[in-house]
């Protein structure tokens, strides 16, 4: 038997219960894994809280928890997803995202190399979005008590003066735009989970949108509402907008941007791309005569839109609370709020 002194952290390849127990090993995890990537003047203090001074204005505050499986998928991993998701939730409210917290629930035995990869992706995403992770927490749970790692991020942003985005602002004649192709994230995760491969790989669209949204709000004050169509996809988001505003929405099926590979995967799995999650897209409602301007700004952010930003429909006074799709054939169908879990059809 190879007898040794208690091994230093660097000897461990996996997360141990002791890493969450608040002692020496917890401190080492923080110092060796989190601080090298996240470090900033506030976090480095290792206090129980971050103390922030803000200039003025209204604060936007949001939280989101990420439990994706698989943790690593084409186009990203749970780490950049957790940062971008919270940044986008702030941005679509018209806020400038500033500070994030990060809470980790890690399953005992999770590989430290995997954790490091996730943390590095979070740091990159935060740098890209221009936000700092200023406070955090780690808990370790027993084997089988969580699926590898769960991450919660909360975020604070400042809403600029004069910005008032709300579903209640929707008016008849508003145009509805989407900033790029639909369903990429959900299908990237689903095909990774099912072990399906296609000629061209489907990559998640996970991306922080705050820079693009900031340009839009700066140049087009006639924007009335924004949402990021994450879980439940475009179908959920449009239904939420219609219900909250008491207006109707009409969408042109031919204008909906869906990549061929995503369409193909959806056909194969019996899933409607309009109900599939996006993690780097924004839906914008703007006064009709300003729609082209918003479209041009979206298109100028080529990295976020891949040339697929589109005006997809309009707000109407008819059929309040309901979203109608005009089909290529000239028929109409209701675009429903998805019921819940995506259940693939038999045939």
């Amino acid at each position: 038997m190879d007898l040794q002194c208690p091994a230093p952290l660097s000897r461990h390849e996996t997360v141990q219960m002791a890493h969450g127990a608040g002692g020496v090993m917890s401190r080492e995890l923080t110092r060796n894994v989190f601080l090298p990537f996240f470090g900033n003047s506030m976090l480095d203090m290792l206090d129980d809280q971050a103390r922030i001074s803000l200039e003025s204005g209204n604060i936007a505050f949001t939280t989101d928890t990420f439990v994706v499986s698989p943790l690593f998928f084409p186009g990203g991993n749970i780490g950049d997803l957790a940062v971008n998701g919270t940044v986008n939730d702030l941005a679509v409210g018209g806020a400038l995202p500033l500070y994030l917290s990060a809470g980790f629930v890690i399953e005992e035995g999770f590989r430290l190399s995997g954790l490091t990869k996730i943390v590095a992706a979070m740091a990159d995403a935060a740098a890209e979005a221009g936000v700092s992770i200023v406070t955090g927490d780690t808990k370790v749970v027993g084997k089988g008590q969580c699926d590898g790692i769960f991450i919660n991020t909360s975020g604070i942003g400042v809403i600029r003066d004069g910005v008032d985005l709300s579903c209640n602002n929707l008016r008849e004649g508003d145009a509805i735009l989407v900033s790029g192709s639909l369903g990429d994230h959900g299908m990237a995760v689903m095909t990774a989970r099912e072990g399906l491969s296609f000629q061209s790989e489907i990559a998640s669209d996970t991306m922080a949108l705050n820079r693009m949204i900031s340009s839009i709000l700066h140049e087009v004050p006639e924007v009335h509402a924004m949402r990021d169509p994450t879980r439940g996809g475009l179908a959920s988001t449009l239904n939420e907008l219609a219900e909250a505003s008491g207006k109707g929405i009409v969408i042109e099926e031919d204008c909906l941007p869906v990549k061929p590979e995503v369409q193909g995967a959806c056909e194969l799995l019996g899933i409607d791309p309009l109900t599939v999650a996006n993690e780097g897209k924004v839906v914008v409602a703007v006064r009709g005569d300003r729609a082209e301007k918003v479209l041009r700004i979206m298109q100028s952010h080529e990295d976020a839109t891949s040339g697929r930003a589109s005006i997809i429909g309009a707000v109407v006074n008819e059929h309040p609370g309901m979203v109608i799709v005009r089909t290529g054939l000239g028929g109409r169908r209701i675009l429903e709020m998805p019921l819940g879990e995506q259940l693939p059809r038999i045939c």
């Binding site: 089909t327 290529g328 054939l329 028929g331 169908r333 019921l339 059809r345 045939c347």
Partner: protein, 362 residues
């Protein structure tokens, strides 16, 4: 995307639509058999753009809709036992049994897994020798070959922990039942394209001859469906019955020989109960006796579970095209997509769910 875009081309669809309008001189009622066709009709708004004189009736070809409540209750009973994995196609999970659905059972701790193919269930059995793995083998002639292959594969590998709870249906006996009923309103059929891919259409020639109806194997995209309707209308207008194939890119008269052989080897024809309709003689398949060890019904002794269906729900009449969904007393009155009484309210392909969506506010 090839084989998709050209069959969704609105220009092409409108040309066929104009041809239907030109040919039709009197009212006709056409039934599309397959739930996949119903789905496409609703999704593309085909029923709204057809001339008023061409009516569509939604047929009984939604496997989710016609699977009887007893199969759900038997599945729920089996999966409530320790060390059992129930593998199923996704959309069966929301179909209500007498007391709950499989999604609820899963949330209560039952090991219910969604698979895309019966062979995935065989893999689960191979990887979990300590578990009993039961595949919910539902569907029409389209799923039967795969489900037969799964049994053959399990037998070949000597897996003694794999079985199937079988509820396989066949289309022609259901069409015969519809045509034989006194209140049949159907003038012609769009036969289910993918069923015919497996079976061919010789059986349909017999039906078409006996009942003097046009039957047209038809695909699932808007251009396919409109072309199928045009073909049926043309046959009706010229008084022609018989089978004409409008899905020749995948269907031929003899079907898929290898698939039919696998089905023939594993299954035999049997009476089947259809949800809301009742038992139709010789309308389904069951495992042959020599595959009895793979028969979950025997293995878990659940054949005695025979619940009653809700008397309020008129889904049988809906499936036969006798009653419109909103004429059912339970429609939107205790039966909704969130809390369905009958299966046609469950699936996006189900006629009641389709009516619920459209008539709620439009």
């Amino acid at each position: 995307m090839k084989y998709i875009d050209e069959y969704r081309d609105p220009q092409r669809a409108r040309r066929i639509l104009a041809e239907i309008e030109r040919r039709v001189t009197r009212p006709w009622t056409i039934m599309e058999i397959c739930g996949g066709q119903t789905h496409s009709i609703i999704r593309n708004g085909i029923d709204q753009v057809l001339p008023d004189s061409v009516g569509l009736l939604h047929g009984p070809g939604c496997p989710v809709c016609v699977t009887p409540i007893e199969i759900l209750d038997r599945a729920l009973s089996i999966v409530s036992r320790p060390d059992v994995v129930l593998a199923s196609f996704g959309d069966m999970l929301r179909v209500p049994g007498s007391e709950k659905d499989l999604l609820t059972a899963r949330s209560e701790g039952a090991d219910v897994r969604i698979v895309y193919s019966s062979l995935e269930a065989v893999r689960i059995a191979r990887e979990n020798p300590e578990k009993e793995v039961v595949f919910l083998a539902v569907g029409f002639e389209t799923t039967a070959p795969g489900n037969a292959m799964a049994v053959l594969q399990a037998k070949r590998e000597g897996l003694d922990n794999f079985s199937e709870l079988v509820s396989q249906f066949m289309v022609p006996p259901a069409m015969q039942a519809i045509l034989s009923s006194g209140d049949c309103a159907v003038d012609g059929f769009l036969a289910a394209g993918h069923v015919c891919t497996v079976t061919g259409y010789e059986d349909y020639e017999v039906l078409a001859e006996a009942f003097h109806v046009p039957i047209v194997p038809t695909g699932f995209e808007p251009v396919d469906i409109l072309a199928g309707i045009l073909r049926v209308v043309t046959m009706l207008e010229s008084g022609v019955s018989g089978v004409e194939n409008e899905y020749a890119r995948v269907v031929d008269r003899e079907g898929n020989h290898a698939a039919r052989c696998a089905v023939e080897e594993v299954f035999e024809v049997a009476d089947r109960q259809w949800r809301g309709i009742g038992t139709i003689p010789l309308s389904g398949l069951r495992l042959r006796n020599r595959f009895a060890p793979f028969d979950a019904e025997k293995r878990f002794d659940v054949a005695s579970i025979q619940p009653e269906e809700s008397s309020l729900c008129k889904s049988g009449d809906v499936l036969r095209g006798v009653v419109k969904p909103d004429e059912c007393p339970a429609f939107d009155n205790g039966c909704t997509p969130v809390n369905p009484l009958g299966a046609p309210m469950v699936s996006g392909e189900g006629a009641c769910a389709a009516y619920f969506k459209y008539q709620r506010k439009v």
